[in-house]
């Protein structure tokens, strides 16, 4: 079994109309043994940006601390908050620094990007474990249930979903993909981000 599957866990992000959503499961396991059902893999970066870190659990914590440090340093030096696009490059270069001894994490980002006109545009991105960026216009997935997430998301997602509809779509996509994956599940958490607020909801899932 690969080290990427050691602790289990999955993350998905989707684009909607003037909103984005990011969701993950809550399981932490060691191979087939489940340790806890409240292991969060999605962390806030700014008020309008979240990053999900599925993969090896030790690197989830290490990278979370690493990103927090680097974003804080950026904020102090630049005297402004980091934009999603810039943060994606930061994630990419942080991972590529460890090209030949990588962190076993495939980050997923979702946020609202400032536009030159002064508005906000939805932004999602994902990278592989060595930082190869993937900017998608619809949805991105990562983790042990990624194949299943691709399948369900391909069937359920449609363009220009409103915040509440996007919440329903991402929740159903995640929950139904998790039920087919032995290494993900045990509850889920969903964040829906709009330009002026974030709605966070915990979902109950199958506990087997």
């Amino acid at each position: 079994m690969s080290i990427m599957q050691h602790n289990g866990g999955s993350v998905i992000a989707m684009v909607g109309k003037d909103c984005v959503a990011i969701a993950s499961d809550l399981r932490l396991g060691v191979q087939s043994l489940s340790i806890t059902s409240d292991f969060e893999k999605i962390f806030p970066v700014t008020d309008r940006l979240f990053v999900g870190l599925p993969g090896l659990a030790t690197d989830v914590t290490t990278l979370r601390e690493q990103f927090r440090y680097r974003v804080n340093m950026y904020t102090i030096k630049e005297e402004r908050e980091i934009e999603p696009q810039t943060f994606a490059q930061l994630v990419s270069s942080t991972l590529y620094e460890r090209r030949f001894g990588p962190y076993f994490i495939e980050p997923v980002m979702a946020g609202m990007q400032k536009t030159p006109a002064g508005g906000y545009a939805p932004f999602i991105a994902a990278t592989d474990l060595i930082g190869c960026l993937n900017f998608a216009k619809d949805f991105v997935v990562a983790g042990t249930a990624s194949e299943k997430l691709f399948g369900v998301a391909e069937g359920l997602w449609e363009p220009d979903l409103e915040a509440e509809d996007l919440f329903e779509t991402i929740s159903q996509t995640l929950l139904n993909a998790l039920d087919r994956d032995a290494f993900s599940g045990w509850g889920a958490v969903v964040h829906v981000i709009t330009k002026d607020k974030v709605i966070t909801r915990k979902l109950k899932g199958r506990m087997d």
Binding site: H6, N7, L28, V30, L33, I35, T36, F39, L56, A57, T58, T61, T62, E65, G101
Partner: protein
């Protein structure tokens, strides 16, 4: 075979670890203390590669003590857990990583809350209501799923702990002869004779 487990209750954490030192197929010792007292309100049960365990536990113990001396105040359980996790995570990507699994039980004297942390040699950290390491975990975790009560009194907690020990003794092929049990609460740490 090496087994350690722990559970939280109302204002306390109970930790239990077997007391055998094994070399190949031989039991060399049956009175080993595998639970270190890190600070007045912090306990750490360690298991894993012989040699690494004691070396790493003593390194942690001395550094937690140093912090206490320098600051006149011990490191609180969540901070201690974070620091120990980082030590293991850094060690994992070094030339010779420590292979040590830990259970960290503490009582936070500032918030009056008991804390229990599960940690493996990768540096995976999780705060849990009950936890186990080693082959015993396959029996005890299911027992604790059924019987654990976060509001249990010390007596009830010990009763649950005894169930776990009895199950391990009954079902594990090479079961440990004795367990050492320690408790941490508002009064500090002490050993409990079963």
């Amino acid at each position: 075979m090496e087994t350690a487990f722990a559970l939280t209750g109302k204002g306390y954490v109970l930790l239990a670890a077997d007391t055998t030192a094994v070399h190949s197929i031989i039991k060399v010792k049956t009175d080993v203390d595998k639970i270190k007292e890190l600070s007045p309100c912090l306990l750490m049960a360690y298991s894993g590669e012989p040699g690494d365990t004691v070396q790493f536990a003593e390194y942690i113990e001395r550094n937690i003590r140093l912090y206490h001396i320098r600051n006149n105040f011990p490191l609180r359980p969540p901070s201690a857990a974070s620091w120990i996790r980082r030590s293991l995570a850094d060690s994992l990507r070094s030339r010779k990583p420590y292979s040590v699994n830990l259970l960290l039980g503490g009582y936070d004297t500032s918030t009056y809350m008991p804390h229990l942390y599960w940690m493996d040699y990768f540096g995976t950290l999780a705060e849990v209501p009950f936890a186990a390491h080693g082959y015993g975990s396959y029996f005890t975790l299911s027992l604790l799923d059924k019987y654990h009560d976060p509001e249990a009194t010390v007596e009830e907690g010990i009763a649950t702990l005894k169930r776990c020990i009895d199950e391990v003794s009954k079902r594990l092929v090479v079961s440990p002869a004795r367990f050492k049990v320690k408790i941490v609460d508002k009064d500090g740490v002490r050993e409990i004779e079963l």
